[in-house]
């Protein structure tokens, strides 16, 4: 006579502590996560200069030369300007609402040249660049509001509207090499 097989107990893994384990892992990843968005000022460098080719001619009135020294003092077209007024001056230069002979012919033609010394601390340079970016931001925003009723950054990326505003106020910023 064959022995009756013993009835097996159901092989089960105790799952009650699974939640605890998952919580532990969750807390670890919660603590280590840094959801940091990288922010900064975007720029596009120009291609390297060909030494044999002369740079294209630029009319003097279309060029705004900003010089910043290591102490953070600013010269705009040979005039000393306090840092707080740089943005307003730039907007006036680019937009030229009164069609002054001294300022840019049109916003498309305006070029802002930023030049510093080698010893200039980086934060002074960024502060200046920030002012220039701020001037363009203001101009684009007001143009966008006048045309489409919304701020520039609310326009859809790559849309014809955004392109229109961008073409109206192209950012032409030249970072000049410092004299050593």
């Amino acid at each position: 006579m064959l022995l009756k097989k013993r009835k097996r107990e159901g092989a089960e893994i105790n799952g009650s502590s699974m939640a605890d384990i998952a919580f532990l892992l969750l807390i670890f990843f919660l603590v280590t996560t840094t959801i940091n968005v990288d922010t900064g000022i975007g720029m596009v460098l120009p291609p390297p200069l060909d030494p044999e080719q002369d740079p294209p001619p630029i009319r003097e009135r279309n060029l705004m030369k900003i010089l910043v020294n290591a102490q953070g003092l600013v010269l705009m077209d040979e005039q000393p300007v306090p840092v707080g007024e740089v943005k307003a001056k730039l907007i006036e230069f680019i937009d030229n609402p009164e069609n002054s002979e001294e300022l840019a012919v049109s916003p498309e033609a305006a070029i802002v040249s930023l030049k510093t010394q080698r010893e200039t601390p980086y934060n002074i340079y960024i502060d200046m660049l920030d002012e220039v970016m701020g001037a363009y931001e203001d101009l684009r925003n007001s143009a966008s509001r006048a045309n489409y009723g919304v701020d520039y950054d609310k326009l859809k990326p790559e849309s014809p509207q955004q392109k229109h505003i961008k073409d109206m106020y192209p950012k032409k910023i030249s970072i000049a090499e410092p004299d050593s």
Binding site: L25, F29, P121
Partner: protein
Amino acid sequence: MAHFKKKQAGTKQEIPTSAMPDVVFMLLFFFMVTTVLREVTLKVKLDLTKASNIEKIEEKRLVSYLYIGPERLPGNQLGEDKVQIDDAIVDDIGAIRNLMYDKLLDQPKLIVSLRVDKNSEFGLLTDVQKELQQAGTFRINYSTKRED
């Protein structure tokens, strides 16, 4: 004596917890995916400057970082300004050209994020930028914090 029977709903007053592990696992996976466990070990001191007119970099995979700042020396001392790419300090500025060119071949839409200490001098940065021009990596981003 009248006996009042306590009114009670017939159902159990318990929240079913059997789905809790699933919920927790879902959260866990979210954080696992978004976590960046290790960034590069910085060999230079980095204290970013602040600016207000900044933009976000949406496509993080296009970004390659370049660090400039005073070198960290043993004993909590700071040395001269140095350039760090990935995990190593690049002493020879001229080598940046090849390093960045190789990165550009891997990722044609490369954005170089320049993370520069706020007190380092502009001179070194302009040398680096000249190298980037030679390498053909024209899209750069001056990494800054948001000004409050």
